[in-house]
């Protein structure tokens, strides 16, 4: 809301300069959004919150100013010198829809249309309103001054000499002032002529057919109180937002209707634009003032400071509230322009605003219990630290993804009813796919090869009962391109399944959860069928990992292969075992290396299980240390080197025992078709 300080000064003595006024009103809730010098005037632009439509006008701002500085408020002159035949002889008004319009008022003016005087044009232009003609300018001027929109009809162009407020019938049509022919619905309120012809979209915009023009001589000037919700729905149904609808939607002042009519009439006479027919024709009634019981002590308790009794009274009276009674319980009547005040707490806020938050001493409430980060939040922090420490960068990507892109992720997905675009028409069913793959694509397009990313966040899965979707906290990771650490070690190969698996297993181990089982079957279809796994912890599937399917990678136009994984966090958190100290071994361990040529179909996990079964309990530890597939071994076979460690907690093992265990393992391996190439 723009207000020239010269205009404000007409209604209140402002004891400070414009800048200071802006700062002071900002503190009481009218934030200064801008300040502009226009000639020797200063235009202040206030950001008025939605509840304070009473400050969408100069008088309202002057009232706040008056209370702020303890100055009296002067009302605009509105005495009217009437002449001629009574207005009621040429105009009648009626309300057909009290739920739309509780009060409707009009005056009849005889005018000569022409340009406005310079001062009026200048003032309108200073606040960004285009001058049109003297009468329309006056209605705009008084709206800016009092907050009451009014509308001037050319009385002689009305199809019938009466105005009525009613709901539109579906299918009715109205050409509004902006030249648009609008089809109306039952949501639209109308000002209609008494014969039913639609004249204006009530509280929103006038109609073109009854518009004031250069030759207009007789005016029906209407000012009504339109229901806020009705106005809002009506304006929205036509995607309209006007100065009038903005005010009515937020609750205009029903009593300002008559005052605005009088003020315009006063100015019509004063400026020599014309004359005013005696009387205001009205229908309906101005709603009675609301009453609220107010306990000053409630304000004092809520603020934590004793506000003097006189201050409560000064603020309320200054803002236009009626105050009766005294002691602990006051009867307060709410001014008609304060539609936002309906309960005691609203009154408390008024006193608090003008008493001033600066006058409330700062305290801190004592904590009744210790603060707490929940286990799952602490766990997520640990996940982030570990993965960042392992060389991955955290990303946060939008939860909205293209549903088409995640078709392979889940059968049932959560779709948005009103997406911004097809690119984000569903909630992600996976954190890793397609989110992290798209992130890889973006970075590769910038010429980046080594890309290692992770994200911790929710995947959204439809609930079986159609209720709120399940939000499953997951960690997703993606590795692609050459290992940045390979620079000095001579390793040049790109990210592969082994790197991914190392990261996943290392993460899970560091989190204190048992190692997940990697199953070659059951991974999602967007992964390479031969380089992917479903991960299990006990009986529960907790995620998947693998290389991106080459066809999918081609679809993303990826330069390097990518490996990605996704794990549920909750089962990992739940599976963490308490750490128990194990006594250090008293007796030395014996280590042996075993080289085995594995036939096709025997997995590393199978191999380990054969060796452990045959070697018995003294075999404490098995590690895979090397892998070779190439010309030295038969096609389809793989040579694996394992490091075996034997020990016994109660004694030193003798060489024979280890030898016997090894031989048992070698025999069992041979039975499974695995040839032992060497023992060292």
């Amino acid at each position: 809301m723009k207000a020239p300080i010269s205009w404000l000064r007409e209604y209140v003595d402002v004891p400070v300069e414009a800048e200071q006024l802006g700062q002071d009103l900002t503190k009481v809730g009218l934030e200064l959004g801008g300040l502009e010098r226009v000639g020797d005037d200063v235009v202040l632009d206030f950001e008025v919150t939605t509840n304070r439509v009473d400050c969408m006008n100069v008088v309202g701002l002057a009232r706040e100013t008056a209370v702020r500085y303890g100055k009296p408020l002067r009302r605009p002159a509105a005495d009217v010198a009437e002449s001629g035949a009574p207005a009621s002889e040429v105009l009648s008004v009626a309300i057909d829809a009290p739920d739309l319009c509780p009060y409707f008022a009009a005056r009849v003016l005889e005018v000569k249309i022409g340009p406005s005087p310079d001062w009026l044009r200048a003032r309108l232009e200073a606040v960004g309103v285009r001058a049109i003609n003297n009468l329309v300018d006056l209605t705009n001027y008084v709206m800016l001054e009092t907050g009451q929109p009014s509308h001037a009809f050319d009385l002689e162009r009305l199809p019938a000499p009466g105005l009525r407020a009613r709901w539109a019938k579906p299918g009715e049509k109205l050409r509004t002032l902006d030249g648009v022919e609008r089809e109306l619905s039952a949501k639209n309120g109308l000002v209609a002529a008494s014969d039913g012809t639609p004249l204006a979209l009530a509280g929103v915009m006038g109609g073109g057919d009854s518009e004031v023009h250069d030759g207009t001589r007789l005016i029906a000037l209407e000012a009504a109180y339109w229901n806020p919700l009705a106005t809002r729905r009506s304006a929205r149904s036509h995607s309209l937002h006007t100065e009038a609808s903005h005010r009515f939607e937020r609750g205009a002042d029903p009593a300002a209707t008559r005052f605005a009519l009088d003020r315009i009439a006063h100015l019509v006479v004063k400026l020599g634009i014309g004359s005013v027919r005696p009387g205001i024709v009205t229908a309906g009634a101005i709603p009675a003032a609301r009453h609220v019981v107010y306990h000053p002590q409630r304000t004092n308790r809520l603020l934590g400071v004793r506000v003097p009794e006189g201050e409560h009274r000064r603020v309320l009276v200054g803002l236009g509230f009626g105050v009766e009674g005294g002691g602990g319980s006051w009867g307060v009547s709410v001014p008609t322009w304060r539609g936002d005040v309906g309960s005691e707490i609203d009154v408390v806020e008024e006193v608090a605003r003008h008493f001033g938050v600066d006058n409330v001493p700062a305290t801190t409430p004592p904590a009744s219990r210790p603060g707490r980060l929940r286990d799952d939040a602490r766990f997520a922090r640990r996940v982030r630290e570990l993965l960042a420490g392992a060389g991955l960068h955290e990303v946060i990507s939008l939860s909205m993804v293209s549903d088409a892109a995640q078709r392979g992720v889940a059968d049932a997905r959560v779709r948005l009813a009103n997406p911004l675009s097809e690119e984000g028409d569903a909630l992600r069913a996976s954190v890793a796919f397609p989110g992290l793959v798209q992130a890889l694509q973006l970075n590769q397009r910038q010429g980046r090869r080594d890309v290692r990313l992770f994200e911790v966040g929710a995947a959204f899965l439809p609930a079986a009962d159609g209720g709120r979707p399940r939000e499953v906290r997951r960690v997703a990771l993606l590795v692609s391109g050459p290992d940045p650490q390979a620079r000095w070690s001579g390793r040049r190969e790109g990210a592969d399944f082994a790197e991914l698996k190392g990261l996943v297993d290392g993460l899970v181990e560091s989190l204190g959860a048992p190692a997940p089982t990697w199953e070659a079957e059951g991974a999602p279809g967007f992964l390479h069928p031969g380089q992917s796994a479903r991960l299990r912890l006990g009986d529960a599937a907790i995620g998947w990992a693998g290389a991106l399917h080459p066809d999918v990678a081609a679809g993303f136009d990826l330069r390097d292969a990518a490996c990605l994984a996704e794990l549920d966090l909750a089962p990992l958190l739940a599976a963490r075992a308490a750490v128990r100290f194990a006594p250090l071994p008293k007796f030395p361990a014996v280590s042996r290396d075993l080289s085995v040529v594995c036939p096709p179909g025997l997995s590393a996990a199978g191999l380990e299980s054969i060796i452990r079964g045959a070697a018995g309990p003294t075999l404490r530890h098995v590690a895979f240390v090397d892998r070779y597939a190439g010309p030295q071994v038969k096609a389809g076979h793989v040579s694996l080197t394992l490091s075996l460690r034997f020990s016994d907690p109660d004694r030193t093992l003798v060489g024979d025992e280890v030898q016997r265990a090894l031989e048992a393992a070698v025999q069992a391996l041979a039975a499974a078709g695995a040839e032992v190439r060497g023992v060292a």
Binding site: G29, L302, I345, V360, A367, E394, L442, N443
Partner: protein, 360 residues
């Protein structure tokens, strides 16, 4: 006189000494030194050893002095040999160290360099500050319903304040939506709270608005705080926010409160922080005001307690008995201010050129 055995022995000793002195400085490795040792003090064929054997041929009165002299010679030779050996070893070590010299300006073998997202860093800083002040961190769902997101927050259908929060809705019945603010989570907590009416929580998380322009992201992050109890005052709100902002940004920045409007708090106040970019003199970041809008807050509107009580079917939060304050701020905004990030969308684009700028 020429065949005086004493003189002869002295002569041979002098010759041996002269020969040794010439040879020892010419020896450049351990083998040469061993050869010298064998030639002069070797047990079998050493020259000095031989001289000592010949001592017996001397007259008894000369034997003692000659013996002492030969012993001194032997010790001198052995001492010189050891000295020479030490010098050679030192030279070898020096040469080896020189050979092992590396170029210290060559880069090291890199250790993995990942990083947390700057929003994570800021969020955890915020959480830590409030946990230290006795707050519980509460994490609510991102998909909400109308009751939690609007209705219970005193924003019934058609409330003008809803215009500011254009909402994403899910397909299907039930009117489910993506929460437009973390305030929804304070309602969820109050409804689920096991120890009403005592509340002291913060709720960080993602929120969603149907905004699509350069200065907005359809997803961003907020943190909501709620304190409810007997005798909670606006003074408590002020003090809490001052402490929090000073811990987050530093005590040198002033905090300003001004009245504002939110449907779910009354009175409502916004907190501004003296501009951390210009120190208050006015700049582009603070739109020349010297102040940064940082946080919205207020005393919980009794209508909110009443809405929660209706849902609970009991007067768990009696507005006549308890009061509270709530506040909310944008995690994105704090991160953008702290790091000088000028576009919110950078936060959600997963661009390594951006992410790598933030130490973990």
């Amino acid at each position: 006189m020429a065949d005086d055995p004493t003189r002869q022995l002295e002569e041979r000793a002098r010759a041996a000494r002269a020969e040794f002195d010439a040879a020892v400085s010419a020896a450049t490795d351990a083998a040469a030194l061993q050869a010298l040792r064998d030639r002069f003090v070797g047990r079998k064929a050493g020259l000095v050893t031989a001289l000592m054997k010949d001592l017996g041929q001397l007259p008894a009165e000369a034997r003692k002095a000659a013996g002492a002299s030969l012993n001194a010679l032997k010790q001198a030779i052995e001492g010189a040999l050891e000295e020479r050996q030490a010098a050679l070893a030192a030279g070898e070590r020096e040469a080896r160290l020189q050979a092992e010299r590396v170029d210290v300006t060559l880069p090291g073998r890199p250790i993995p360099q990942g990083g947390r997202h700057p929003l994570t860093t800021v969020r955890e800083d915020l959480e830590d500050i409030f946990v230290a002040m006795g707050y519980e961190v509460y994490d609510g769902p991102e998909v909400e319903d109308d009751y939690h997101c609007f209705e219970a927050l005193n924003m019934p259908a058609d409330h003008p304040a809803r215009d500011m929060q254009d909402t994403f809705y899910l397909e299907g019945p039930g009117g489910l939506l993506l929460r437009t603010h973390t305030s929804a989570t304070q309602i969820r907590y109050m409804v689920e709270n096991e120890r009403p009416p005592e509340v002291r929580i913060i709720c960080p998380g993602k929120v969603y608005r149907r905004d699509d322009d350069i200065t907005h992201s359809p997803m961003f992050q907020q943190i909501e705080g709620l304190v409810v109890g007997k005798g909670i005052t606006l003074g408590d709100l002020k003090g809490t926010i001052e402490v929090f902002l000073h811990r987050l940004f530093g005590p040198q920045y002033p905090v300003r409160f001004r009245h504002s409007y939110f449907p779910y708090t009354e009175p409502s106040v916004e907190a501004d922080l003296g501009c951390i970019n210009c120190g208050g003199s006015g700049c582009r970041i603070c739109k020349q005001t010297g102040w940064l809008e940082i946080l919205g807050s207020g005393m919980v509107n009794p209508a909110v307690f009443e809405a929660v009580n209706r849902r609970l079917g009991r007067n768990a939060y009696d507005p006549e008995q308890v009061t509270g304050f709530a506040f909310g701020l944008g995690i994105d905004r704090v991160a953008m201010l702290r790091y000088g990030i000028d576009h919110i969308r950078l936060l959600y684009q997963s661009d390594l050129r951006f992410l790598e700028q933030f130490p973990r």
